[in-house]
């Protein structure tokens, strides 16, 4: 734990392109130095860290008392999940994995097929999450999936099992070669979501297996708190901002959007329960702190995903670019994750990409309200979270915060609502210095300092 002797903390974010280092003075509660070095796949991640620290010393940082780190390097935490019914255990397992900061690469429902397992052999995930059946419910499905994994899996990766507890002992035996981590069912009873145990298991496996495999073990040994996946750091930061700490009140129900180069992550902190008595909630209960990820939507590597969702016509008419200009613009962005827009046309394209990314990702995160006509009159059915009363929206992510007027894009993206329960009039807070993930990391260790610093950072107009 921390003590008063520690005055300077290094917050280190191992990204897929850059390793970002931030130095915080804990007494002054200020960022005193920042730098970034390329994360190279060929060299050990520790080398990047050393180079970065060297640069920080040149900037005048003469002491570092504590180190904290998060990582999305080497593809982040890539997970595959399986369950039985798509809207029940499969959805529960997916939410659990996303909430643990994972990138959910494959989602399988019902029985795994030989071609599914072939896919896992070709491109093994970091962790496989095996679920299915409520406690005492269906057991045949998870057992059959365990057997097909045992007989056809040629690669070894950690398997976390969180299904029907009645089947656990048998699964343990079937998968004994893979030393499975057995934990409590992600859906012990129908409609009950129990993500804590699974997420703890995922974090544990991340620390014991993945960190080693990705060359972070030496770094991890020098840290003051466990190394976590980067999205978890953001989730920690926004949760702290919402809930507050000790005497300091938080901002209440809020959302955050991270439009990055490859993906767009959306977070909501708050229950989002129906606000009126004549609304019936359906579907799985929502996690209080919820994260969704749009893997096909990002402003650099995944820019074509945005165009695909929005439609080329819409992008062309909004930007006023020609077909060829759009094509060239997308090529540049796809090739270079660190590329910065300078010309007017490039800025217009970035602006449009951000607008469509926000519009799509926010809708996919939000709950929906449907009207049902009954013999007793109109009634309403809500699925997902009602975000209408959420009062703040935090914007983060390199390409997004670099825009001239990101808050205006949010207003525009929220205007087109349809049946979606999007925030009505959120105050937009921009993470201009792009430090939310670093400060979220600090939140795991010194929440009091982290909260004050996040509030200060987001209050810059």
């Amino acid at each position: 734990m921390s003590n008063n002797l520690e005055t300077t903390a290094l917050l280190c974010d191992f990204g897929s392109t850059y390793t970002k280092l931030t130095v915080v003075d804990l007494d002054k509660e200020a960022i005193v130095a920042k730098t970034r070095v390329p994360t190279s796949i060929d060299t050990h991640l520790e080398d990047g860290l050393n180079a970065g620290e060297e640069e920080l010393r040149r900037q005048g940082v003469d002491r570092i008392d504590a180190r904290l780190a998060c990582s999305s390097a080497a593809g982040g935490l890539k997970m595959a999940v399986s369950g039985l019914m798509p809207e029940l255990t499969v959805e529960a397992a997916t939410r659990a994995a996303l909430g643990a900061g994972a990138k959910v690469w494959r989602v399988y429902s019902h029985e795994l097929t030989p071609s599914d397992v072939h896919e896992l052999n070709e491109s093994p995930p970091d962790i496989f999450l095996l679920t299915g059946g409520t406690d005492g419910g269906n057991k045949a499905n998870i057992l059959s999936n365990a057997r097909i994994l045992k007989s056809l899996l040629k690669r070894s990766f950690p398997i976390v099992v969180a299904g029907n507890r009645v089947a656990s002992a048998e699964i343990s035996e079937i998968l004994s070669d893979f030393s499975p981590v057995i934990c409590e069912n992600v859906m012990p009873r129908l409609g009950v979501l129990q993500v804590d145990a699974v997420q703890q298991a995922i974090r544990h496996v991340f620390l014991t297996h993945i960190v080693n495999a990705k060359g972070l073990d030496d770094v991890a040994a020098t840290l003051s708190a466990p190394l976590i996946p980067t999205p978890s750091a953001v989730l920690e930061g926004v949760s702290l901002l919402s809930k507050g700490h000790g005497e300091s009140a938080g901002l209440g129900d809020l959302m955050a959007v991270d439009v990055g180069g490859a993906t767009t992550d959306v977070y909501s902190i708050g229950s989002g329960l129906p606000s009126e008595a004549n609304i019936t909630q359906r579907g799985l209960p929502e996690p209080f702190a919820k994260r969704t990820v749009e893997g096909d939507i990002g402003m650099r590597h995944s820019c074509r995903g945005i165009v695909k969702v929005a439609g080329e016509e819409a992008v062309l008419s909004r930007t006023g670019l020609t077909d060829l200009e759009l094509e060239a613009g997308l090529d540049k962005r796809e090739e270079n994750a660190g590329w910065l827009a300078e010309s007017d046309k490039d800025k217009r394209l970035d602006d449009s990409l951000a607008y469509f990314a926000l519009k799509t990702a926010l809708k996919r995160h939000a709950g929906q309200l449907e009207t049902a006509y009954t013999p007793f009159g109109k009634t309403f059915i809500q699925t997902g979270k009602d975000l209408r009363p959420f009062s703040r929206m935090v914007l983060t992510g390199g390409p997004l915060v670099a825009l001239d007027d990101a808050p205006a894009l949010v207003g525009e993206a929220l205007a087109d609502r349809d049946q979606y329960l999007l925030p009505l009039a959120p105050r937009v807070l921009v993470d201009h210095n792009y430090v939310l993930s670093a400060l979220g990391l600090l939140a795991t260790w010194r929440p009091d300092v982290a909260l004050r610093m996040i509030l200060k950072e987001l209050s810059h107009e």
Binding site: L84, M85, E87, L88, T89, G132, G133, T134, D135, G136, G137, N138, K139, A140, R165, V166, M187, P188, R189, L190, G191, V192, T280, R282, A372, Y373, T374, P375, F376, T379, I381
Partner: protein, 148 residues
Amino acid sequence: METPAEEVANVEKKTLVIGVIGADVHAVGIRILDYAFRDAGFEVVNLGVMVSQEEYIAAAVETNADAIVVSSLYGHGELDVRGLREKCIEAGIGDIPIYIGGNIVVGKQPFDTVEARFLAMGMTRAFPPGTTPETAIEYLKKDLGVEQ
């Protein structure tokens, strides 16, 4: 859902998926059934009101249920259960018993003709208005092979 937290799933018990189908918001009867079925020794998964066909089926598959009990009190039962059996077959639980009861049709129709129509749609049993929970429990025990 309505299950008490301390209850641990019991593999010996027969599991019933119950709920009020369609756009029907009658919330009282289903609670009484929930209580009565539990009291009679069943494991109950109560989906509440305004339940769609797909929700019954997903719940039945995931919980490995032994029967589906559909409640309908607003007269639209016939429209609401049409196709339910076919979807169960599609989902791999084609043999599951499905019961329906409540005010399942509009107006005063002879119940034997009503029953015949519901059985033709693949319901295992259909019950007239005013049926007590005890009657349903008796049939469930018989159909599911529970020792009396």
